[in-house]
């Protein structure tokens, strides 16, 4: 690996990124290499077809949504800092961080992870998971053998269970509440991104 000074030369705003995301410089470098390998045409940014070149994503029922999550509203390119910021959600939560009041919350915190997951559901970004959105997720994730009616009943029951203010949609807080027992930290962490 190159020395840290050369890595900072290659990556714009390396210090800032490290501070915002919590990645170490070694990881940042590795992610930068990965970014460059994904960026086949060497444009300096990624577009959706770069992601699709990854065969594994085609087999993923929510591959499309994940890709979409990288492209923040309206844009069709991902530069390196956005790339890293999204991936930073998947760092394991630092359990023994000093609680500095002024420190910006890292993307890998529990709330931010949940927010990311919420956005996987809430495609139109209106802050609520409506029944249709839930249905879409169910349809994507359940096998083709489940009938439409069964999907409907599942979606309905899911909303019933989580919807506290009876608006027939799940807000972020309701989402958070229904998942409070889940161990988000391990379920949404990829290890090598430490």
């Amino acid at each position: 690996m190159g020395s840290s000074s050369s890595s900072r030369n290659k990556i714009p705003n390396a210090q800032e990124l490290m501070r915002q995301t919590g990645f170490s410089s070694a990881h940042l470098l590795r992610l930068h290499d990965r970014f460059e390998s994904l960026d086949r045409d060497n444009r300096g940014y990624l577009s959706p077809d770069d992601f699709e070149a990854l065969g594994g994503l085609a087999m993923n029922p929510i591959g499309g949504r994940i890709i979409e999550a990288f492209f923040s509203s309206g844009q069709d390119t991902v530069d390196f800092s956005s790339f890293v910021r999204i991936l930073a959600h998947f760092r394991p939560t630092d359990r023994n961080r000093n609680k500095e009041g002024t420190q910006q919350e890292l993307p890998s915190s529990r709330t931010r992870k949940l927010k990311f997951a919420f956005q996987l559901y809430d495609l139109d970004r209106d802050g609520k998971i409506s029944r249709e959105e839930l249905l879409q997720v169910l349809r994507a994730m359940l096998g083709l053998q489940v009938t439409e009616e069964q999907l409907q009943s599942i979606a309905e029951r899911a909303i019933q269970e989580a919807d506290l203010d009876k608006d027939d949609a799940i807000s972020f807080d309701e989402f958070k509440k229904s998942l409070e027992k889940m161990d988000i930290d391990t379920k949404m962490s990829v290890s090598f991104l430490k």
């Binding site: 594994g56 087999m59 249709e132 879409q136 083709l144 309905e156």
Partner: protein
């Protein structure tokens, strides 16, 4: 009460049996007349005794399991050992000598194989191979450490004089250490089964207990040879030979098992005509793999484990469902029975004055060292492992892993196999081994559960409480896999996908029946099972309300169970009861009038069933991500272990969607009709939007974000009474919202990509079927979209294959 009578009965039976056995000797030579009946004990002695002891052990288990309170505190294995003590005491009292012992031959050849075969056959492969690294480290290095440390420490203590005037050579100590070192699979199963710790912890201990046999065999044989050779003859060459023999034994054993596993899989491919004895093959071949490895002086346990692990998937796919069930049950029965007998005899063997040589220092020190070194070994190795593991093993897990290093009958069997000419203190070693076994199985077994609870060890995953949790859990799994793909982690995911590719295209092709392979591609039988289940619930509900006549009326109303009312469904109908046979044809008709009140009741009952179903459905149908594994390992509980071929589905679906966006060929498919279920909630005539299949994945030329197109279909509620009968729908063309980037020309093709759920009418025309067929094949090779010349066999084949043709 009943136990008293049982024991009295036993004593009465045992003593005359023994008495007769002795007195038969002189009897047969002088016959003075024709005997009407004669007591021919010798004739039947051996099989009779075998059967008798099996019966006694099983009866003991019966007595023990009668009281649930006791077994929840003390593990069954401990109680069985105590039972063995009692029996041994009785025999001892009768005979003054222990006529029955657990002999190594009986144990290693007749009792152990089925336990291990059962373990291999029911092994959760995914979980096992995910943790294989850790398991191997513990099995190999951990066992070697245990053996070396125990042997050396004991020798050191002897030198230090802690054992009185014992004189055992270093090599003999190492030999003793090697037989003492191995964690025993039988004991581990017996103790952990009632505790239900989390998956990873269990597989680490259990996997280690299975794989360490490779090491144990080598160590034991090597040190045995060293003891025979004597100290001076051991030089570097011998030591190197020892190390080499480890690799040979371990890999050779696994290879033998693998070969036999493949053999079984191949065989089950052809056994369609002898389904009744199909299950026999796995038992016979499994046993042969064990014996073959034993014959070649390889690791027999490794052989039979890998045989079971290798063949499980294929024989479950190839064999008839009844045969699969038979194999499962028979294996569990044999394994459980064997365990019972093993533990009873472990108890009986103790009551034998011959082997009781007491040396306080030796025994106590062995106990201490076994425990302490286990802890040290586990913690040290796990500390190293955690630096490379995705999910580090927690501290409490490590404690349980150490505490769960139980010794059992294997150690005892090896100890009895020692040659007393070479090892003078054999009896002491046997005695010590027994004491260690009792200590671990009884004491550690009893305290395991309280320890687990006290330390708050993560238990086996409890099912999620809410649907959203369940769904989100799966979502997370998929997300992680996707993120790993994106961030380029070439870890075991990459290897696993490569293996999966190889396995699906090569191994399955050779080892699985073609019909079974097709079923792997789609989960039609799951759908079928679900329908059967639903049908049974209907009947139950109907009967609860008084009559099946009621059910018949219900059916035409409650149609959410039906995927499509058309021909494709005839299969299910054929399999269901006649009551339901009428459903498909009546479903399109206007519903018979039913009073509103009855209707309410029906809906309520159905909704209750729905609620249960919803959870169950999610359980069954959520795509498992590559990381997901699901198993239950228990002696007495079976779970249907469905293989995941959903990846295939997802891939096909995605590829198909991509295909749609690229191809401009018009498929000319009849516009599909959507089925609509009208839920009770929507009392008003609110049009319900059914969202059909949308385009997941991208189109190559899309520059904007990923808008998903969906089709909306509305229905008209029936006049008057709410009519939840599905109304085959209208014209989706009107309601199509075409995503901006899809050109006009692709409109038709876009319809084909509708979810199969939404399609009521299967395109039955031969030409359409031909078109659909490439879709199936295309997932295997992406360049065969232009298959024009597929012979039109589709229309001739029964409906089942039409369904298959979709995929």
């Amino acid at each position: 009460g009943q136990s008293h009578t049982f024991f009295l009965l036993l004593i009465c039976v045992v003593s005359p049996v023994k008495g007769e056995a002795v007195s038969q000797h002189g009897h047969s030579s002088n016959i003075t007349g024709i005997p009407i009946i004669s007591f021919k004990w010798h004739h039947v002695e051996t099989p009779y005794l075998v059967a008798f002891w099996v019966l006694v052990s099983f009866l003991g288990k019966l007595v023990i399991e009668a009281n649930h309170h006791v077994t929840s505190v003390i593990p069954e294995s401990a109680l069985l050992i105590c039972f063995g003590f009692i029996l041994g005491g009785m025999i001892w009292a009768a005979d003054k000598v222990q006529t029955f012992r657990l002999t190594p031959t009986v144990f290693f050849f007749y009792l152990l194989p089925q336990v291990i075969l059962d373990a291999g056959y029911h092994m959760p492969n995914k979980l096992f191979f995910t943790n294989l690294g850790g398991i191997l480290v513990h099995a190999v290095i951990g066992t070697c450490w245990n053996a070396a440390s125990l042997g050396l420490s004991l020798w050191g203590c002897q030198m230090g004089g802690a054992m009185g005037d014992l004189d055992i050579g270093l090599l003999q100590y190492l030999l003793f250490g090697s037989l003492m070192a191995a964690v025993d699979p039988v004991a581990v199963i017996a103790v952990f089964e009632q505790v239900h710790v989390n998956d990873v912890l269990f597989i680490m201990v259990f996997g280690e207990s299975l794989l360490n046999d490779g090491v144990t065999v080598v160590l034991f044989n090597v040190f045995d040879a060293f003891v025979s050779l004597g100290g001076p003859k051991i030089d570097a060459a011998e030591i190197i030979k020892g190390i080499v023999s480890f690799f040979v034994v371990a890999f050779g054993g696994s290879l033998v098992g693998l070969v036999f596993g493949l053999l079984i899989s191949l065989l089950t491919r052809c056994t369609k005509n002898i389904q009744i004895i199909e299950p026999g093959f796995i038992f016979v071949l499994g046993y042969l793999s064990y014996l073959t490895a034993e014959m070649l002086s390889l690791s027999a346990i490794l052989s039979i484990v890998f045989c079971g692990m290798c063949c499980q998937k294929y024989i479950n796919a190839n064999m008839d469902e009844n045969s699969v069930q038979t194999v499962r049950y028979a294996m569990k029965a044999f394994a459980n029975g064997s365990e019972t007998i093993i533990f009873v005899f472990l108890g009986i063997s103790a009551i034998d004055k011959v082997i009781w040589v007491w040396n306080t220092g030796f025994i106590l020190l062995t106990l201490l060292f076994v425990l302490v070194y286990r802890f040290i070994g586990v913690f040290f190795l796990t500390w190293i492992l955690n630096r490379y593991r995705l999910v580090p093993l927690e501290f409490v897990d490590q404690v349980i892993m150490s505490y769960g290093g139980l010794r059992g009958a294997v150690a005892y069997g090896l100890a009895v196999m020692l040659d007393e000419n070479k090892i003078k203190e054999k009896n002491l070693m046997v005695c010590t081994t027994l004491i260690v076994v009792y200590f671990t199985v009884i004491l550690q077994g009893i305290t395991m559960k309280p320890l687990v609870m006290w330390l708050k060890v993560k238990r086996a995953a409890v099912t999620e409480v809410s649907l959203l949790e369940k769904l989100t859990n799966k979502m997370f799994n998929h997300t992680l896999v996707a993120i790993e793909d994106i961030s380029g982690q070439i870890g075991h995911n990459y290897m696993r996908s490569k293996w999966k590719y190889f396995e699906e295209n090569w191994m399955s092709w050779i080892l699985m029946k073609p019909s079974a392979r097709k079923k792997q591609d789609q989960v039609f039988d799951v759908f079928h099972q679900l329908n059967l289940k639903d049908a049974m619930e209907y009947v139950t509900e109907g009967e609860r309300r008084g009559s099946l006549e009621f059910v018949r009326n219900e059916n035409s109303i409650i149609d959410f169970k039906k995927k499509s009312e058309s021909e494709s469904f005839d299969i299910n109908n054929a399999n269901m009861s006649n009551d339901h046979g009428a459903m498909s044809t009546t479903s399109r008709d206007p519903i018979p009038s039913v009073s509103l009140e009855m209707h309410e009741q029906i809906m309520k009952a159905v909704r209750e069933a729905e609620a249960i179903n919803a959870h169950h459905l999610l359980d069954q149908h959520l795509y498992k991500s590559r990381k997901q594994h699901r198993h239950r390992f228990s002696r007495s509980h079976f779970d249907i272990n469905r293989d995941e071929k959903e990846v295939q589905e997802i891939f096909q679906r995605t590829m198909r969607n991509r295909l749609k966006s690229f191809t401009s060929a018009k498929m000319g498919v009849k516009p599909p009709k959507t089925i609509v279920k009208h839920t009770q909630k929507e009392q008003q005539q609110k049009p319900m939007k059914i969202l059909s299949r949308s385009f997941l994945g991208s189109e190559g030329d899309s520059a904007s974000g990923y808008d998903q197109s969906y089709m909306r279909a509305t229905y008209r509620a029936g006049a008057g009474i709410e009519n939840p009968a599905f109304m085959p729908d209208l014209d989706p063309m009107d309601l199509l919202q075409i995503p901006p980037w899809l050109g006009e020309s692709e409109l038709d093709s876009s319809m084909v990509a509708l979810s199969h759920r939404a399609q009521v009418d299967l395109p039955r025309t031969p030409s359409n079927l031909r078109r659909l067929a490439p879709l199936r094949i295309s997932t295997r090779s992406t360049d065969s979209f232009t298959l024009e010349n597929i012979p039109d066999t589709q229309s001739a084949t029964p409906i089942t294959d039409n369904i298959y043709a979709w995929f």
